[in-house]
């Protein structure tokens, strides 16, 4: 029984580390600011979740488990918030995201102008 929990726990811990590393690779490989933020999201969400779930199996039904799940909840609320704050400040500082569809990009730029004029 305990060996099964141990194996399950380590599967989750290794998966979490794997996704964290993938996020790190993504930050290096992806071309510009906005696409790199998506890679950061992988580490923030699934990497953190799998690591905490792995630790939950280690903790068992204790007060530590409750605290760990609270940490997971706070992480899942705060990391998108900071990600959005970063993206929004980049946009309002005038950094234009590189887009892959030229036709669509020009339309978006027009929409951006409208937004900045409105604000």
């Amino acid at each position: 029984m305990s060996i099964a929990i141990e194996i399950l726990s380590w599967i989750f811990l290794v998966l979490g580390s794997l996704f964290s590393i993938i996020g790190g690779i993504g930050i290096v490989r992806l071309p510009e600011f906005f696409s790199r933020m998506h890679a950061g999201g992988v580490t923030d969400t699934l990497g953190a979740t799998f690591l905490v779930v792995g630790l939950l199996f280690q903790a068992g039904f204790t007060l530590v488990a409750v605290k760990l799940s609270m940490i997971l909840l706070f992480l899942l609320i705060t990391s998108p918030t900071s990600c959005h704050a970063l993206a929004k400040s980049a946009i309002s500082e005038g950094l234009k995201p590189a887009l892959d569809n030229a036709d669509h990009a020009s339309k978006t730029k027009a929409a951006d102008r409208d937004l900045s004029e409105g604000a």
Partner: protein
């Protein structure tokens, strides 16, 4: 009033969880002393919050009930896992197949809290980041646009609307 009560309960609960001082049956003097200190700090925080007039449906969203945890959160976790695998595949593919787009979706939730939940859920799923919000329009930056992103945000929109209905 119901917001004050729920906020006090949440504060007392979180104080007990973080401090771990449940042992009232252990009749050492200092346990009572620490419990009283916890009670006083909870009361002080609620008094401060009431003085700042921030005890409302945003600081203690009791009107949502437990449904965010029972129905919305499990569904969101499933979507987070799916989109994470998609983004991980893109990162690890030898040629980065990116379709970066800015798309605009309409947010239908009526309350500000609902819109925050929607925009945060969009950001929480990797591959889509909500960049800007003007009234009810959310601008989204998508990493590899396939049309599924718009569908997903629409689905999220419906679920958040359902969440804030029948309060």
């Amino acid at each position: 009033m119901k917001y004050t009560i729920s906020l006090s309960l949440a504060m007392a609960g979180s104080w007990l969880i973080w401090s771990g001082h449940f042992q009232i049956w252990d009749d050492h003097f200092h346990h009572y002393f620490i419990l009283v200190l916890g009670l006083l700090s909870c009361l002080f925080c609620i008094w401060l919050a009431a003085r700042m007039k921030i005890v409302d449906d945003e600081s203690a969203p009791v009107q949502l009930g437990l449904r965010p945890f029972t129905t919305y959160f499990p569904w969101l976790m499933k979507e987070i896992v799916i989109s994470n695998i998609k983004v991980a595949k893109i990162i690890l593919s030898p040629r980065l197949k990116l379709q970066r787009r800015m798309i605009t979706v309409t947010a239908h939730p009526k309350t500000e809290l609902g819109r925050v939940i929607l925009a945060n859920s969009i950001t929480a799923t990797p591959g889509t980041i909500s960049v800007q919000m003007e009234d009810d329009k959310i601008q989204i930056h998508a990493l590899s646009f396939e049309g599924a992103e718009e569908e997903l945000s629409g689905d999220m929109d419906r679920r958040v609307c359902k969440l804030e209905k029948n309060q």
